[in-house]
């Protein structure tokens, strides 16, 4: 059974750095793209980017490129979303999700439970 488990809620101040994680199990980690989706309070879903853990090929939405970094550690089946300098507007729930099939062109078939990130001074 595929499982996607995200790290817990975070409270940070503007300007601080943060890395949240997404650990998966139940399938070959290196074979499937994993992505990150932002949902601001009461808002829509926003596709941030995806990574192929096999070679760490990452693709970003222009809306997020340069502000976040997506990475993966094959040794522990974990993907990450990293900010070097948070803004209050980064307050949101962040979902990690695995592609349904082992292709770059795929819907998200398995979702994590979400990580709430609160950025406030």
């Amino acid at each position: 059974e595929v499982q996607v488990v995200q790290s817990g809620a975070e409270v940070k101040k503007p300007g601080e750095s943060l890395k949240i994680s997404c650990q998966t199990s139940g399938y070959p980690f290196t074979d499937y793209w994993i992505g990150w989706v932002r949902q601001m309070p009461g808002k829509d879903l926003e596709w941030m980017g995806i990574i192929y853990p096999g070679d760490s090929d990452a693709r970003y939405s222009p809306s997020f490129e340069g502000h976040v970094t997506i990475s993966a550690d094959k040794s522990i089946n974990t993907a990450y979303l990293h900010w070097s300098s948070l803004k209050t507007s980064d307050t949101a729930i962040y979902y990690c999700a695995r592609h349904r099939r082992n292709s770059r062109y795929s819907a998200f078939g398995n979702w994590g439970q979400g990580t709430l990130v609160t950025v406030s001074s």
Binding site: W47, S61, A97, R100, A107, W111
Partner: protein
């Protein structure tokens, strides 16, 4: 980027009725790389339909997707109370893989 516009914003129907949700794309979604998800409060989205018309594992046949090009539809037959939620479409034909703004389905 491909912009997806969903309609209506809100749909309020009674149990047993049929819901028809629309998703229109600003550009051709080639290979019908379009998915539908449902999200309920406090939960992550759940995949319902992929490839415009294929049901995901465990999704009942009351749910059907159709369409191609720029116009896609999700039909839910014989509505049940558990169908409440916000339904999002997503295209994964061209990066960034954008989502629609969602249709909220209420059951009277």
């Amino acid at each position: 980027e491909i912009v997806l516009i969903q309609s209506p914003d809100t749909l309020s129907l009674s149990p047993g009725e049929r819901a028809t949700l629309s998703c229109r794309a600003s550009q051709d979604v080639f290979s019908s790389f379009l998915a539908w998800y449902r999200q309920t409060p406090g939960q992550p989205p759940r995949l319902l339909i992929f490839g415009a018309s294929d049901r995901a594992t465990g999704i009942p046949d009351r749910f059907s997707g159709s369409g191609s090009g720029t116009d896609f539809t999700l039909v839910i037959n014989r509505l049940e109370p558990e169908d409440v939620g916000v339904y999002f479409c997503q295209q994964y034909a061209r990066s960034p893989y954008t989502f629609g703004q969602g249709t909220k389905l209420e059951i009277k």
